[in-house]
Symmetry: C2
Subunit: 316 residues, 2 copies
């Protein structure tokens, strides 16, 4: 397959492994890139020197393109960007901030810049400031989601109708069928998080990976809407948040309940009771921890097979 996304990133498959806090270090990113997708390091959970190390290790582990996801609210953002530019990372996905701030600076160094949005409004803004592509992420996604709560099924065609730069769909995609649906809606590529969080190469705690496999429908809920909405796997910490929100906790109480380091505690250290466990609705369909390359190949093969099946069902 050849389209604007495979050409932009110089990859075989238009499949991006999402940059996720505590899950996507050099092992995962390089495995995905080696298998023909675009692997992303998740800078959101890395100190600058840790990111530098992951970039170096990723370069050794793959000669294929890879990228870094950078939340723009990151306190040491200048240092992070300097490291990325000096290391000649070919692709940067920015999120959680104003895409105007860094796009041209990165592009001047030949870096392809993609920004993550959850609404048409911000997708248009991204196009205006000249990003190379957009990731649009629906309500069902894990992690931090949009306040409009627009689902992937509604968001992708809405953006695709009004924005002409390449569009990558995210949220609810963990299979070839879902990828086919996303492409039917107007996306040219997909970004997949949760499915890769439960891969062998994910740096998440094995305990967290096993919990993802056990997740069923209704195992996650979008919480913390008074702060920044985040989709949580239902554990003890979730129930504390639920109780606080049910009794009308104000933003400050929620902030203090959340405290610091909860995501690390849960997703990286495996404290499944007290940690913050971010994952998408699609976790309900994840049945086994597998090598990232196998996940990628399965998704791609299912995508091809289902695309033919679909057409046969329609044009008998």
């Amino acid at each position: 397959m050849n389209n604007r996304i495979t050409n932009l990133f110089q990859v075989k498959y238009p499949i991006i492994q999402a940059g996720m806090v505590w899950c996507s270090g050099w092992k995962l990113a390089s495995s995905v890139s080696n298998a023909g997708g675009l692997g992303l390091l998740g800078a959101g959970s890395m100190h600058p020197e840790v990111l530098a190390e992951h970039i170096e290790k990723c370069k050794i582990a793959t000669d294929k393109p890879f990228g870094v996801n950078v939340p723009l609210m990151y306190p040491q953002i200048e240092e992070i960007m300097k490291i990325i530019i000096e290391a000649r990372v070919p692709v940067v996905f920015t999120s959680a901030g104003n895409p105007k701030l860094w796009t041209s600076a990165l592009q001047l160094h030949g870096i392809k810049v993609v920004h993550v949005v959850s609404s048409l409004k911000f997708a248009k803004k991204c196009q205006d400031v000249g990003v190379d592509a957009i990731v649009a992420e629906g309500f069902e996604a894990g992690g931090h989601n949009g306040r409009e709560e627009t689902t992937t099924l509604c968001l992708i065609p809405m953006i695709s109708a009004e924005v002409s730069i390449p569009l990558i769909a995210a949220g609810g995609i963990g299979s070839g069928k879902a990828m086919l649906a996303a492409m039917a809606l107007g996306a040219e590529g997909v970004q997949i998080g949760s499915r890769f969080a439960a891969s062998n190469e994910s740096s998440a705690s094995e305990k967290f990976k096993n919990l993802i496999v056990e997740a069923q429908e209704g195992s996650t809920e979008l919480m913390m809407k008074k702060l920044t909405p985040v989709r949580l796997l239902k554990n003890k910490f979730y129930r504390q948040v639920k109780e606080a929100e049910s009794s009308c906790a104000d933003p400050d109480s929620l902030r203090s309940l959340l405290g610091k380091g909860r995501a690390k505690k849960g997703m990286f250290e495996g404290d499944l009771d007290n940690g913050e466990l971010e994952i998408g609705q699609v976790s309900a369909m994840i049945d086994r921890v597998k090598p990232a390359a196998e996940i990628l190949e399965e998704i791609w093969q299912e995508f091809l097979v289902e695309s033919k099946n679909l057409l046969e069902r329609i044009h008998q």
Copy 2:
């Protein structure tokens, strides 16, 4: 196109116009059925004698199959079912209740029975009690939605993998592209509500129809989760609910704020401030009130064209 849904209902297109309170009387249902889809009367907002009248008028207006959507919590359910059976309505969609109660009784009279669910759990239950097909409705849908908040993109493949009876997707579908995505996910048909609520033949107030056309992304929100969740268009009444929920109103206060007849007031009588306006997220993409037959034909043609485009994009 020929599949289990077109065969089950004896229709040309596997497209069902949802039975909606205050929007879908005999004019809309017969127009959709005449145009090759399956039109449904929405019994939820009709007294038994009103339903009987709509069934008679629908029979005069079309010789094609049509159906009735019946919320099973309806107080005069026995009378409603008696009317449907005596009038030999060929299809009944049941919702909001236990599918075990009426399925066999209706099937004994040769009526095809479809039940509406929003979770895999209830989809399995429906299959066990022997319904002829299932509608699975995602978080983005208008009206009353599931507590799990599973989106259509996640819900359809989840059910399709574990249930073998025909599956109809609903929620977020108002175009041929979205229909194609639903079919890619494993649905054999689609149920479309919001797009038909804004048709010429919809019995909704013209004021409500115009407001649907004006809706943008973020114009709706799933509210009243302490009672029965319902997706509301953001008007004055919505803001009252929002305020009540933000200050932690209990279920009784919400019930009293809702009062009686709010949906009729808003959707049928056009009191856009004080009425309860139920609509799906897809309202953001509805740009004009049109004849139902034109809507159906446009969706179908886009579905065919996009299915060929998609395959060309994949298998160049």
